[in-house]
Symmetry: C2
DNA sequence: GAGCGGGATTTTAGCGTTAAAGTAGAGAGT
DNA sequence: ACTCTCTACTTTAACGCTAAAATCCCGCTC
């Protein structure tokens, strides 16, 4: 390993002069600077980031900590990355599997040291657990959990999104809409909020809210969505609409409906949530609540930048607006 | 920040004793150990990972460096993570956008220091550029580029996969199969290899290889796949099969065919490559070349572990076998 | 009771960098 | 000629940790 000291010896200057050249901190005379640069080139010197970090207390790195890397989080990550890089920092992703232990570990003193700031998608931690986190490190929480006031937080308008999607299907003739994955679950505010929206759309339209149409699923996967909807179909419960908690789940519903010979949207209207890249391509085009990944990314990164720049004002709690993107899976679609 | 020195003072021992307790290195008498642990608890001490890294030369972290976070790489990452964690290390993801500059930077001396080992999905770098990388750091390359012998490398049987998929469609009656995204492109061995497989399937069956059926696409996205196939349809070129270079592109083809009123598989058979999670759910089920993400992940991580454990034997070049998963988008499907 | 073995603990010496304070020398002002 | 200032560079002192060597202490042997 080539150290600054090696470059300094080669160039006949002190280590600090090398540091000043490399970091462009204090001005260095051009001939000296050239000698140092020549030595850097000759020896192939590159700074030791760990040493710099220890000494300077800064990593120029931000972590985005997600439950899993695929689907929704993969897409959001790709939006976040350029925003972080635009400020000259690196973005790294870490994975928690959504477990409270992993999320807590990611917020531990030890791990927070590694980053100048952290974006965390909270799935497993509740308000009390988050309240135990004591740190001055810039943190922005994302996700649908309830969080202590002192954290910056960006979440989606879940209830409104679910209401929009459900109301849209009611407006176009559906009367028995399955809420696929829309369970009441204190551990999953997301599903609860989306269920409330589903219910509100019913009440707004003067329709009964029938609990049999709330169908729980084991995990937020397409497989679970398909299996759950196949069970509904097998049970004989009549339905003419499906609101799925996420597009990934909705894709499972698409499969279940196709397998069962039910036509979308003629027999059953279908809407999801997240508006993933794939959603516009799955025939007949999946109507979905658009969570505006890009806007969420900008908001979250903006809050993080502000904190990293030294802002100490009160934390913000942003509810990102949503809109319904209507496609062929509901009537009234393009 | 609480330092080891603070704990040492609180417990009335030397800093080294704290270190020995925390790391369970040298044995420490039980009463002393208990006092140290009590002090750790009382002060909320956690080790400074940066300082440990600088001193011990080890980060217990592995990086998986990918072109982008979504789709294929997101799914593979989720397979890799548990394998790395099983050995007591952390996995972080970094993104290159597929640009040679970013990939080269990820392999720079400075950045490699941050990790005990690196998995890199090569997309942009060619053999010559990789040859300029000089490092003893454990590295495993993934992807379809040509790489210097001294690197461990895991790639897919691209040609064989493409041949399998194409031959399967020929066997079930297709005679004019569009190779969607299967261009000859030195910068993209993946597309070239898959095109060769597409061609070989034709020759094996005694069919002409018609260059008009090789359709380039601008990016490997569903949108590009859909647009390119819509152009083909608009051009009037007759076809009865589509082999798409990736499932993401195939999804675009699904959309294009549906929009154009062409039935799958009755009018047009369709097959893709990668066998993503979504592929089995997109009606009528996407026939796809399965690249065995899990197996690839195990192989790559195995090679990395071997290197990190000190193995210095010759590098291995693994071609991961593929198999065709037949679904409803081709005839003969379930 | 001097010498020895061995476990428990401490001392020493950095890992490679950078913030801050220090020095040396040239030119300007009086 | 004596400060005074300014620029260019160097010295010093950490950042928080750990590998290795050194020391201490105690019981045990002969």
């Amino acid at each position: 390993m080539v150290r600054m000291a090696d470059v300094a010896r080669e160039a006949g200057v002190s280590v600090m002069t090398v540091s000043n050249v490399v970091n462009e901190r204090l001005p260095v005379n051009e001939p000296t600077r050239a000698r140092v640069m020549a030595a850097v080139e000759a020896l192939g010197y590159e700074v030791n980031l760990t040493a710099r970090h220890l000494r300077a207390g800064r990593t120029d790195t931000v972590a985005f900590i997600v439950p899993s890397f695929h689907d929704y989080f993969g897409e959001v990550s790709d939006k976040i990355a350029p925003l972080i890089e635009a400020e000259g920092r690196h973005l790294v992703l870490e994975r928690t599997s959504g477990s409270p232990e992993h999320e807590m570990a990611a917020l531990s003193v030890a791990r927070l040291q590694l980053y100048d700031g952290v974006l965390l998608s909270v799935v497993g931690l509740d308000r009390d657990q988050l309240d135990r986190v004591r740190t001055a490190k810039p943190i922005v929480l994302l996700g649908e959990r309830d969080v202590p006031d002192r954290f910056n937080h960006v979440r989606l308008a879940n209830e409104e999104g679910a209401r929009l999607a459900t109301a849209h299907m009611i407006e176009h003739g559906s009367r028995r809409i399955v809420g696929l994955g829309c369970t009441f679950d204190t551990a999953h505010m997301m599903t609860s909020d989306r269920r409330i929206g589903w219910e509100r759309a019913h009440r707004d339209a003067g329709l009964d809210v029938d609990a049999r149409y709330v169908v729980p699923i084991s995990t937020f996967t397409s497989a679970a969505g398909r299996d759950a909807l196949l069970d509904v179909i097998a049970s004989g419960l009549p339905f003419d609409g499906v609101f799925a908690v996420t597009d990934v789940v909705a894709l499972g519903a698409v499969a279940a409906l196709a397998e069962s010979g039910l036509r979308v949207p003629t027999d059953v209207q279908l809407a999801g949530f997240d508006n993933l890249d794939m959603s516009s391509f799955v025939p007949p085009g999946l109507t979905s609540v658009d969570a505006n990944h890009e806007g969420v990314a900008e908001t979250a990164v903006g809050l993080l930048h502000r904190q990293m720049a030294g802002w100490t004002g009160p934390a913000e709690h942003v509810v990102a607006p949503v809109r319904l993107v209507v496609r062929g899976s509901t009537r009234g679609g393009a």
